[in-house]
Each structure stands twice: as structure tokens, then as C-alpha cells.
Amino acid sequence: MNASGHARWSEDVAAYMLGALEPGEAAEFERHLGGCERCRAEGRWLEPALQTLPESVERLEPPPRLRESLMAEVRADARPAKEPRRGWSWGWKPALAFALVILAVAGVAGYEIGKGGEEGGGGASTIVSRQADGITLKMVREGNGGTLQLVNVHQLPPKKVLEAWVRREGKVEPVPALFVPDRDGRAETTIADMSGVDTVMVTEEPQGGSKQPTGEPIATMSVPG
């Protein structure tokens, strides 16, 4: 990255770290960050300053009932360690493997449907699916399209992106817009045409995306017709 290329972004580093960029700006900045060592170095330098902000607040004693309530929920949820998940054979006939994963995962991932017509206008609806590993998948449908939002997504390894897939009439199709999670684990993409889609899935793919899923899905959602 040359100096003039960097200059355009240098003022954005602090704003990005403070979560003050608009979502579109943040996504654009993250793309730049991937190729700009100067911005990454500046971010690393400023990180300790950012981390001290939450430590600067006046301390309060949390009410004892908070711990009691929290631990009650945690103990109720506690269970023996899960068996390691068996590997998926995406390399071989990925479309078939996709279909099997859909059947397996969609069966266990519950979903809720909320009508947001009043706020969204035009009959928008929202589907939320909480995945077994902590990711929440949310589809906001409006008209013929929809916005897919993920929360609690892990940070991706270098040169990896998220790619969404839809299953329409039994055929798996990639969603053109690739996306990445922000530093808070939130990721979002748009699906222009949701007609006939019965399942949506997200996988981690190499930069530039793939024509077929190459890995285990990180999130899957059944879409009611």
C-alpha cells in the first residue's frame, strides 16, 4: 500500500476501533485493512488505549441475584463434553454432502418467525435461528429479497471469506456477495432473490469465493415457504 493510498484511510483507524464507522464504511475499511500493514500496525499500537476505556468506568457492585440467576441458567445448561464432530466429506460430491447437512442441521436448529410489518413496512418478516455453537442467524425478508445477518461469528483466518448459499428446488446456488465478520463477530450479506428458497447456509471459503461449498457449514437455516 503506497503512502497516498494509505492517507485516505488513516483517519478511519481510530473510528473503526471505536465502532464509529457506519456498517458499509466498516466493511470497506476491513477490506482495506487486509492489504495495508500500516493501518494494521496503527491499530495494534492503539489497541491498548482502546482496551483501557472499559476499565475507566466507576466500579459498581453487581447485585448478588445476578450471579445466582446466571449460575442457575449455566448449571441447567451444563452437560458432559460433546463428542468431537465427525468430519464432513465436502471434497466429494459437495452438493450431496450439502443436502445431507441441511437435513441434519435444519432438523435441530429451531427457528422463530416474527412479523415486523409495522416497522419494516411492506410486510417485512424476520426469521431467527440459533445455532448449536452460539452463532445466531437472522434473515430479514422484504419483498422478494432478504438480508442475512450473523452474530457471534468467529474471526476468519487470513484469505478466507464467508459465502452464503441457497437451496432452490433442490439445487444449491451461491449468493454472489461475499462477506466477512466485523471485529465484533457480526456479518451481513444480501440475498437478492429468495423466491423458492427453502434453505440458507453459510460456509467459510477461500478469498474470491467458491462455486460449490468446500467446507462444513458454520450456520444453516430452514426458510418456511
Partner: protein, 193 residues
């Protein structure tokens, strides 16, 4: 297998996280006891209401319980990760409350009604000392810089919203954010020297 409380207490946060990922309540309890106070305090600083702060803190810790395996030690400490989860939840809470403005107590009158947390450990005492230095560092910033940082970090406002609130060009807001963070960083570096 659940580790015994005494054993969990001897573990570093980074060693507790794999246990939390395997759903160990004792490891989680130790994590809460170490960081619950600052988490609740941060939530309160952002949402400005004790009941809401309680709700936000509970949601954040449950989120950590459910996604503990996602913690990546290479990207920072458990404490900073956990506090970022709390901050995000608190900002989401504010945004979900239509018409409810974030708490913007630049004069911080609320501090008068706050009770100090019990000082449990030497580590906590050190953190308080650090927090005091940080408050000092924030306090040393020109008001125009601390204001934009507080609006962004504790208020959840974007730079364009802050520009509108303060009647400033967006570039000025971003510049003040950068200068403010750089100054805090400089103060920390001087403290270490």
C-alpha cells in the same frame, strides 16, 4: 468432568476458557467472579440503569458461556474480549429502545450514587490502579477529544451521528477520535517507561 472450584481459581483466564467451552460451571463461576464487577459497571455506564445493566450483563455472560470455545487468545485477553461482548450487548440494548437516548453523563453525576466494589484481590487492586490512571488519561484529554471518544464508545454513536450532534464536519470528528486515542496511548507508554 467439572473441575473443583479451588483448582479453577488457580487457573489463568486463558486456561479457564477451554473449560468453559466444555460447559464447566465452576470454571465459568470463577470467570464471572473475576470480571463480573467490571462487566456490570461497564454495562451500567452505557445503559444508565441498574436493571438494564443487570439484564445486559446476564445476556453477555450467557453468550460467553455458549460461545466460549470461540475465544481466540491470539487476539487479546479474555477480559478485553468479555468486555467487548458486554459493550456490544449494551449498545444493542440502547439501540433497541426506540427513542431512548444513551446515557451521556459527561459531568458523571452518577458517580455520586455509585458504591465501590469490594477489593477482593491484589490483581483487582492493580486493575483499579490502572483504571485510575486511565481515568486520568481520559481526563487529560482536551474535552473535544474525550467527548467524541465517549460518544462513540459509551454512547454507540457513529462518527456521522456525532458530527450531527456536535455540529462538526465528519472529518473533524474522526480526527479528534484519532488524536484522543493516540494521546491515551502515549500516556500509557509514558507510564510504562
Amino acid at each position: 468432568m467439572t473441575v473443583r472450584r479451588e483448582k479453577a481459581e488457580r487457573l489463568a483466564d486463558e486456561e479457564l476458557m477451554p473449560l468453559v467451552g466444555r460447559k464447566d460451571p465452576e470454571a465459568f463461576a470463577v470467570l464471572y467472579d473475576r470480571h463480573g464487577g467490571v462487566a456490570y459497571s461497564l454495562a451500567y455506564r452505557i445503559v444508565g440503569d441498574r436493571a438494564a445493566a443487570e439484564e445486559v450483563t446476564q445476556e453477555a455472560f450467557i453468550s460467553v458461556w455458549r460461545s466460549g470455545a470461540r475465544f481466540d487468545a491470539a487476539r487479546g485477553s479474555v477480559r478485553s474480549w468479555l468486555l467487548s461482548v458486554v459493550r456490544n450487548r449494551a449498545i444493542d440494548f440502547l439501540r433497541s429502545k426506540a427513542g431512548k437516548a444513551p446515557k451521556l453523563d459527561f459531568d458523571d453525576d452518577s458517580a455520586l450514587e455509585q458504591r465501590p466494589a469490594a477489593e477482593r484481590t491484589e490483581e483487582e487492586a492493580l486493575r483499579r490502579e490502572t483504571a485510575s490512571e486511565v481515568r486520568g488519561a481520559l481526563g487529560k484529554l482536551p474535552g473535544e477529544q474525550s467527548k467524541v471518544i465517549e460518544l462513540a464508545y459509551f454512547g454507540g454513536f457513529s462518527h456521522s451521528e456525532i458530527a450531527e450532534i456536535l455540529g462538526l464536519p465528519m472529518g473533524t470528528v474522526k480526527g479528534r477520535m484519532r488524536l484522543g486515542l493516540e494521546k491515551i496511548r502515549g500516556e500509557l507508554a509514558e507510564g510504562l517507561a
